[in-house]
Symmetry: C2
Subunit: 319 residues, 2 copies
């Protein structure tokens, strides 16, 4: 058995068996059945050492996050996760690394009932590309373009935790374990995304930072918004960093939050509260959609903040 076969063995059966997988890893293609009345939602993302994770990152965390990023995209459409494919590029056939990577990938696959159905392994600089596939009832996907004036804007969880972890790691400072987990092992908000079908008018996942990602909703919907920064959900460490520096870029533009940002018509607020009671993380109303364009940020002082409305762009190096 070649080194390549050894690696392939790790990836022939990750995640739970599913009856809609007619043929998984091991033929020219995987063969899959989509349930009647459902649309297929797909998203592909590359996750590269140096750009998206530190090369010495725990490989189990790399495996977790490479899948989590895609699951967060499925959540942002309100989709039910189903299948994944994985293209792994490795500098060498490092079995320990591959085993740990597979462990992280498999654990998150089982948590969400998703099955790895196809893959490719290539020699080269460390990089992981994952495609996720999910189902959403026909006509019920939650797009970016449905926000209307008067809708309330919500975000899940807390913002800026991953950004603060990354800042500390770059500075060579100690990182609190819970912050590091928020950066390396984000929990995709799948149950929230599914629960928001029929409730939210627009949704996006926060991968690049609230400023840029909310901007995508506004652009796609042809609307503007105002956001009250005093209502941003911040944990104590991020709140303290913002207070010390007066710099809001950590919760607004540092990226990697993997929370959901969504818009709720006033008539659906009660339904949202019922959903919120079933979740283990908070949902926070941070502002509202208004007619026109532009994004106004109200500072706690009452002033209007003027920040550049850009999110994380993959081309400037992050590392």
């Amino acid at each position: 058995m070649s080194e390549f076969d050894l690696i392939r063995r790790h990836f022939s059966a990750l995640g739970p068996a599913r009856s809609d997988v007619l043929l998984g890893v091991g033929d020219d293609c995987a063969l899959l059945d989509l349930p009647a009345g459902q649309s297929l939602a797909v998203s592909i993302d590359t996750f590269a050492a140096g750009s998206h994770f530190f090369p010495d990152c725990d490989p189990a965390h790399v495996g977790h996050k490479a899948l989590a990023v895609g699951l967060s995209d499925l959540a942002a459409m309100g989709a039910d996760p189903a299948w994944s494919t994985l293209a792994l590029t490795l500098p060498s056939a490092d079995e320990d690394w591959v085993r740990a990577f597979g462990r992280g990938f498999a654990a998150l696959s089982h948590a969400h009932g998703i099955r790895l159905v196809g893959g490719d392994t290539t020699r080269g600089p460390l990089s992981v590309t994952v495609q996720v596939h999910g189902f959403v009832p026909a006509g019920e996907a939650i797009r970016r373009g449905g926000a209307r004036p008067g809708d309330l804007i919500f975000v899940s969880g807390t913002l800026g935790d991953a950004g603060l972890a990354l800042r500390r790691m770059r500075d060579g400072a100690a990182v609190e374990p819970e912050l590091r987990m928020r950066l390396e092992c984000p929990e995709p908000r799948v149950a929230l995304g599914q629960g928001l079908r029929g409730i939210a008018s627009a949704m996006i996942d926060l991968s690049d930072g609230l400023a840029g990602d909310l901007g995508h909703i506004l652009q796609a919907s042809g609307v503007g918004a105002e956001v009250d920064l005093a209502r941003l959900p911040l944990n104590a460490m991020v709140a303290s960093a913002v207070a010390d520096s007066g710099d809001w870029s950590l919760p607004l533009a540092s990226g990697d939050d993997y929370e959901l940002c969504f818009c709720i018509p006033p008539a659906h607020v009660d339904a949202l509260h019922r959903l919120a009671g079933r979740l283990e993380y908070p949902l926070s109303a941070i502002g509202s959609i208004r007619a026109g364009s532009g994004l106004l940020w109200h500072l706690p002082s009452g002033d209007i903040l003027d920040i550049q409305r850009t999110g994380f762009d993959h081309f400037p190096d992050r590392s």
Copy 2:
């Protein structure tokens, strides 16, 4: 508009519009409709500079081949191509390279009616990952495991052309343009694969070389085979290289043929001949399936050839 936006613009609409694409590039996920009664066939492949193509290769050819490799996998299942996704990793935002890459990718997309529905662009060492998605009527996919004793073994086109081109390029020798095109711009045998639904008992595409790939059919089917090397379809240059050296590895194990190898029950030979008349490339009967296991290669001299039954393994460097 950032460099990243410029690149993204090239990939927002490659290939023809399709009514089954509810939402293409530009939201968290693409949304797709699968026709009733069809299964979904998917395959993902990475195509990396240095391992799979020379870094100075014409980027239009890189774009063509990155998609062709996936279309060849769809062909090998008998599937109808529908959609693609693309994860592109680039060392810099080189607009000329990206434009030419997109041109090659788009031309092949149009030729097969396939639409790019999602993508990701990352900074890093040059590498392309493509996932293809196709349809196949329920129960009609052609797998590797269906070969039965007495079936005839066929291959399309000619074997070893790409291998000879690669050998000459590595040696710094001149390469005949038609050989170079076979290496850099393979034509996936999509119409053949579709036409073989209901006719072939097993099929695989030749990406790693006939020896290894036919071996996969035999292993999956639990059968053996004999192949008559005098019947291998070779163009004059490959035939001459084999005759000069006595080395059959070029047509048997050099990879990158992207032809189809398939098995035909004797009762279906007439149907195959009717199909062959509609194709622009030859189909050649090269041997037959037999009970048991193992692969016997009959030399033109009448001797039995003993070669190692291994194909191209991505881990040993190719460049």
